[in-house]
Symmetry: C2
Subunit: 207 residues, 2 copies
Amino acid sequence: MPASDLTGRARLREAALRLFAERGFEATSARAVAAAAGLSPALVIHHFGSKEGLRAAVDEEVLGRIGAALRDLDGDTEDLMSSLGVVSARMFGADPVLRGYLRRVLLEESPASAALFARLLDGARAELDRLSTSEGGRAGGEPDWAPFQMLCLILGPLLLEPVMQPNLDRPMFDPEVLARRSAANQRLLRHGLFGPAPSTTQDQRGD
Amino acid sequence: MPASDLTGRARLREAALRLFAERGFEATSARAVAAAAGLSPALVIHHFGSKEGLRAAVDEEVLGRIGAALRDLDGDTEDLMSSLGVVSARMFGADPVLRGYLRRVLLEESPASAALFARLLDGARAELDRLSTSEGGRAGGEPDWAPFQMLCLILGPLLLEPVMQPNLDRPMFDPEVLARRSAANQRLLRHGLFGPAPSTTQDQRGD
DNA sequence: TCCAGGACTAAACAATTGTTCAGTACGTTG
DNA sequence: CAACGTACTGAACAATTGTTTAGTCCTGGA
């Protein structure tokens, strides 16, 4: 039981993260969180002031993890167009709980979620700028929409996982499946759906 | 007051659709639905058996509307690649309430939502088949992922509307904005992000 | 006319909700 | 040792939840 060597506050936060991701915030009672942490419901108030305070703490924790992962990423920009794919793989792919929580956060209209999305959008824009100069050409179409399109391709699988997974025989975020999807996304962004054939021995990083 | 000439059952269902779309199912009380419809909470039980039954009725209504729109669509396949864009425009674009409800439905893992998504996926697949033969070439990359990518581009704006809208100065589903986005999506699917320049006098249908 | 049935309501039900309160155990500091 | 603050608890609080019950109103068929 590795959860038990955490402080009570942290145990509550972890349990809340898991339950909020599974059932959503409204559908999760403070009692359920406390029970999952093996503690008294009154502790939620004692540590976080209110259930809403608990949500804020979980939000902060999650956004912190994402921020850290994004910061780690700036170091290894080995290949163009690969970075956001690595994010998607390392972060979204790794932890199903984090995926579930993010899925719910991105659907709300809280300032925090809008800020997170704006950050992701900036990342995509920067990546596309680098990419377009290296690719020689100017950005196609409406350059305003390109970063958004890119984000749709990356976040789509995250958001649609619950409805898409039943149509597949393998886990969507299995490393191999994710790598193949990333490769397909790269090809789409570069050449469209009907571009040159994929080189079968291509490396499988990036997005 | 055009809502008042509906039967009580329909008024409850409409109010529920609106409130569920706004706040979500769990966060909406049966009393709130009844109050919005100007009726007694007991009527929810009388007409639908339970709050869950009300949700089922709303689901059926919404899926019915979508099904009808999809069926209407089969007639006018004027141009390749345009159909799903028209769906997105006519259906998702038209009604913000429907958008909100769909957004929430697609995030759940109910059998109904998976079935709806499977239908959309089939539509995308069929569209891409038609498109790939007309386009001369075989489908690029992993043809398994192509329909999913297409759906991500179409459903992405729907799902991400709450977090994306704050980054824009015009409504995301304004007809003109939506047309421009559809055109950008078409170009991406055909030629990638760095393909030929957009012909400025292009018509604005499709996706 | 009577009456059967559906639409509809007010009032109350038990259960669950977030939260408060009084109090215990415990380590730290004076 | 005393005092204190912090982690923590069980029991209770008021409010809200979905649902039930008993009953009223009204319409349509016999």
